[in-house]
């Protein structure tokens, strides 16, 4: 498999996924949409980890996959907290749009 697909191809795919996720996180109005963008970015990172682990790590080392698991864990935690925040914000502001929440405005 490693002969068939160069490492660069996978990494470019991950980069594309990351940038799409970034665009989503930056431009979706809905908070859940933002969260989904962030999940896509995390997935891109995971792809990088697994790919680099697969291509570059010799046999007994599992750092890539291990850190993928950690990132999945963090992503799950982030999703739980983020969604809880969305619900709390929704209760307070009666909206789930990010651009309506601008109490930081100067």
């Amino acid at each position: 498999m490693t002969q068939a697909i160069p490492l660069e191809a996978v990494l470019v795919l991950a980069a594309a996924l990351f940038c799409i996720g970034l665009f989503g996180a930056l431009s979706r109005r809905n908070m859940v949409g933002v969260l989904m963008g962030v999940e896509l970015m995390l997935n891109a990172v995971n792809i990088n980890m697994v790919a680099i682990g697969r291509y570059l790590e010799p046999y007994p080392y599992v750092a890539g996959q291990t850190f993928t698991i950690f990132i999945i864990t963090v992503a799950a935690a982030e999703a739980a907290v983020g969604l809880a925040m969305i619900i709390a914000i929704y209760r307070t502001w009666l909206t789930s749009n990010v651009d309506s929440v601008d109490s930081l405005k100067g």
Binding site: L22, A25, L26, S27, V34, V98, D99, V101, D102, S103, L104, K105, G106
Partner: protein, 777 residues
């Protein structure tokens, strides 16, 4: 014994703890709890102080954490015989040998050896340049004696306050204040350097201010507090100058005779010989400046005016601060810095003697013509402080300190006795009726000795203890005052200071006289409170402050009044109670008033000259001529007083016999030589005139100058404006509006939306990465 020496620092710490406990914990909500806390801690401190005194009396000292006998100092100053000057000093005490060698010819006697310390504990406090300013405790035998005196008196006064202040809603605060005061006094006593001494001294000044103004609803009280604070401040500023002066000369403020300490003989010799400002020697300058502190704190003429006014404070305060302890701090100061005072061949000491003797007589004459029981005692205090100051000025170091100790006991006793009397007087129906109209007038009326009389049977405990204090103050053998006063007179006599001797003897006569007058009027004859001389309050207190209080009592007291009108003369009812805690305090103090004199009996018997030997000073033998004169004078004063006032004052409104015979003089004395008015007319008016002159200067000259400068500036400004507006403005205007526009535009970046901020972050990261990738490569 090692415990008492090692933990001597606990003595001031305990009352301080009491203050903190009462102030910062819920203890303050309960009057009794706070009172007993303060008393219990004071008792512990008393035990420690007495133990310390016992330890030092055994000649024990603490060196490097080990208790050793004070062997080094044992060789000199033993109270065997009057020292013979040089040989004694040279042989064993190089510390004072030199200074003494020069001072002795002027005085003829007065060898003074600064006592060896028993405990010195110091810690580095503040680094200054290459050296470190150390703070700590420095305990020698006089300090130990002072500590014992202060703790015992303060404990009695705490105890007395428990009963006396029970009706005051702020009793807890009172205990907090007097605990703080006691802590400061104890700290001052055992301070190891003049700076710490001065700090504690100032804390006492603060406490004095707080306590004089304790009944701050009364304008008289807070005014007296301010007056006391400012008057003593004059002395304190001069004293601080003296400290600075001393520090510039000595490079240290630490007590002790070692190198780098202020009583170092070489240093003292240099201070005495080199001349500083105005051609006087350093020692004179420093000594007089330090003595100014004493004049302020011990209320010597001309800064005496605050002390009688300080009687506006509650009576235990008068007893604690303005009789027993704080005012004697001034005397303690000159006793402590005595080597400096005597380093200049007696110039300073002459001034000290002069002021002291003058104050002794001056205050005694005023006391003769006062009616207020507390004011009489206040002027008596002034007079006695004058005795002490004069004694130290005469070189009678032991005599001055001895009188300080004995006086503290019997004056505290007298003040507390007067407090008990006032407490009783205020409970009479007449005073209570007056209380409704004007609380302050009621209190002043209750303090008027013309309104008293016949209290002998009504307040027996007070009567007997007061009598003991009275005899001690009058100087009757064998009470405390006799021995100490006699020693002072003996110093004047032996030193052939005939003027001083005469003045002090006259003051002693007057003391016996006015005390007899007071004692006679208060305790004998008929009770005259039925138709009292009502104090005319020139400025009735605002009713708002005490309105709720008065309303609270109205119903109850009306009930009393109906009774009071029915039977004016049956005042022997429950009014004349003597609170148990007050009696206890009185009895303890009375026992000391009787026995304190025995600590330094001028006989060569076992136990004689005890204080002198304890302090390792030479002892003055009993001079029978002086003792006889002094006793005669005292008896004469008593006899004069008794005969003059025997039949006087059948009613409260009678004229004073002295007033009848010499009305002008009496009036002058009664108005205290009009010193207050003099000050108001001289310094006060001078200040006012100066202020007016300055105001005129300000308006006419300074304002003119300032205004014309202003006009000129305006003119230049207008010129400038024309040039500016036509020529220079465009650039800055463009810059300003550009900045404004940029700000407006940039402001829109600050949208408050998290997404926008995130896109700035990523945008920034992209730009940085592009720069890295394409520009830097």
């Amino acid at each position: 014994m090692a415990f008492f020496l090692t933990y001597a620092w606990l003595i001031p710490a305990l009352p301080l703890l009491g203050c903190a406990l009462i102030t910062f914990t819920p203890l303050r909500r309960s009057k009794l709890a706070s009172g007993w806390t303060a008393i219990a801690l004071m008792l512990c401190a008393t035990v420690l102080a007495v133990g310390l005194l016992a330890a030092t009396a055994q000649g024990l000292a603490l060196r490097d954490g080990q208790v050793v006998p004070l062997a080094a100092a044992a060789g000199h100053g033993e109270a065997t015989a009057p020292a013979t000057g040089e040989g004694h000093g040279e042989a064993t005490t190089p510390a004072t040998g030199e200074g003494h060698g020069e001072a002795a010819p002027a005085e003829g006697h007065g060898t003074f050896a600064f006592p060896e310390p028993n405990v010195v504990q110091r810690f580095a406090w503040a680094p200054i340049g290459e050296s470190v300013f150390a703070m700590g405790v420095y305990i020698d035998t006089p300090v130990a004696a002072m500590l014992a005196m202060v703790t015992i008196t303060a404990t009695c006064i705490h105890l007395f306050s428990l009963g006396y202040m029970a009706a005051n809603p702020r009793q807890s605060r009172f205990f907090s204040f007097i605990s703080l005061f006691t802590a400061a006094m104890l700290l001052m006593t055992m301070a190891d350097n003049l700076l710490l001494f001065f700090m504690a001294w100032e804390v006492m000044g603060l406490c004095s201010y707080l306590l004089i103004g304790f009944l701050f609803e009364r304008p008289q009280a807070y005014r007296a507090a301010v007056k006391a604070f400012i008057t003593t401040r004059i002395g304190d500023v001069l004293m601080l100058l003296g400290l600075v002066y001393l520090y510039t000369q000595a490079g240290s403020l630490a007590f002790g005779t070692g190198a780098g300490e202020i009583f170092n003989p070489e240093l003292l010799k240099r201070l005495g010989s080199e001349s500083g400002f105005f051609g006087v020697s350093h020692a004179t300058g420093i000594g007089l400046l330090l003595f100014a502190g004493t004049v302020g704190k011990s209320a010597q003429f001309p800064l005496h005016v605050w002390l009688p006014d300080a009687m506006e404070g509650p009576t235990p305060v008068s007893a604690l601060i303005h009789a027993a302890t704080m005012v004697s701090a001034g005397v303690f100061l000159i006793a402590r810095t005595f080597p400096i005072l005597q380093a200049d061949n007696g110039t300073t000491l002459a001034a000290v003697t002069l002021i002291g003797a003058f104050t002794a007589l001056f205050a005694a004459t005023i006391a003769v013509a006062q009616y207020d029981i507390k004011r009489i005692l206040a002027y008596s205090t002034l007079s006695q402080l004058g005795f002490m100051v004069a004694a130290i000025g005469l070189g009678g170091w032991v005599a001055g300190m001895f009188h300080l100790l004995t006086h503290a006991f019997f004056k505290a006793l007298l003040f507390l006795g007067s407090g008990s009397i006032i407490h009783g007087m205020e409970a009479t129906p007449q005073m209570k009726a007056l209380h409704h109209q004007d609380e302050y007038a009621a209190q002043q009326t209750a303090q008027d000795i013309r309104n008293m009389g016949g209290l002998r049977t009504r307040m027996p405990w007070t009567f007997w203890t007061y009598t003991l204090g009275y005899l001690a103050l009058a100087g009757i053998v064998p009470f405390a005052g006799f021995w100490s006063k006699d020693e002072i007179l003996a110093h004047a006599f032996v030193g052939a200071n005939w003027v001083v001797f005469g003045v002090l003897t006259l003051a002693a006569f007057l003391t016996a006289f006015y005390m007899t007058r007071q004692w006679r009027l208060v305790f004998f004859g008929e009770f005259r409170g039925g138709q009292p001389v009502v104090f005319q309050n020139p400025e009735p207190a605002p009713r708002t402050a005490h309105h709720s209080h008065a309303d609270h009592h109205t119903h109850h007291d009306d009930h009393h009044d109906t009774h009071g009108h029915d039977d004016h003369h049956s005042n022997t009812g429950p009014n004349w109670q003597e609170h148990p805690s007050m009696i206890a305090a009185l009895v303890v103090l009375a026992s000391f008033a009787v026995t304190a004199g025995f600590f330094n009996l001028p006989f060569a018997i076992p136990g004689g000259h005890w204080l002198s030997s304890l302090w390792r000073q030479e002892a003055a033998p009993l001079n029978f001529i002086v003792a006889g004169v002094s006793l005669l004078v005292a008896l004469g004063g008593i006899a004069a007083g008794w005969s003059l006032y025997g039949g006087a004052f059948a009613g409260a409104h009678d004229t004073d016999p002295l007033n009848r015979q010499a009305p002008a003089l009496f009036r002058l004395l009664n108005e205290k030589y009009r010193i207050d008015e003099l000050y108001a007319a001289s310094f006060g008016r001078l200040t006012a005139i100066l202020a007016l002159a300055w105001a005129w200067m300000d308006h006419a000259i300074l304002d003119g100058v300032v205004n014309s400068i202003g006009r000129l500036t305006l003119f230049i400004g207008q010129l400038n404006f024309i040039v500016d507006d036509t020529l220079l403005n465009d650039g800055p205007d463009a810059l300003a509006s550009g900045t404004l526009a940029t700000g407006k535009r940039t402001r829109r970046l600050q949208t408050g939306k998290a997404q926008d901020y995130l896109s700035y972050v990523f945008g920034g990261a992209v730009i940085l990465a592009l720069v890295y990738l394409y520009v830097l490569k």
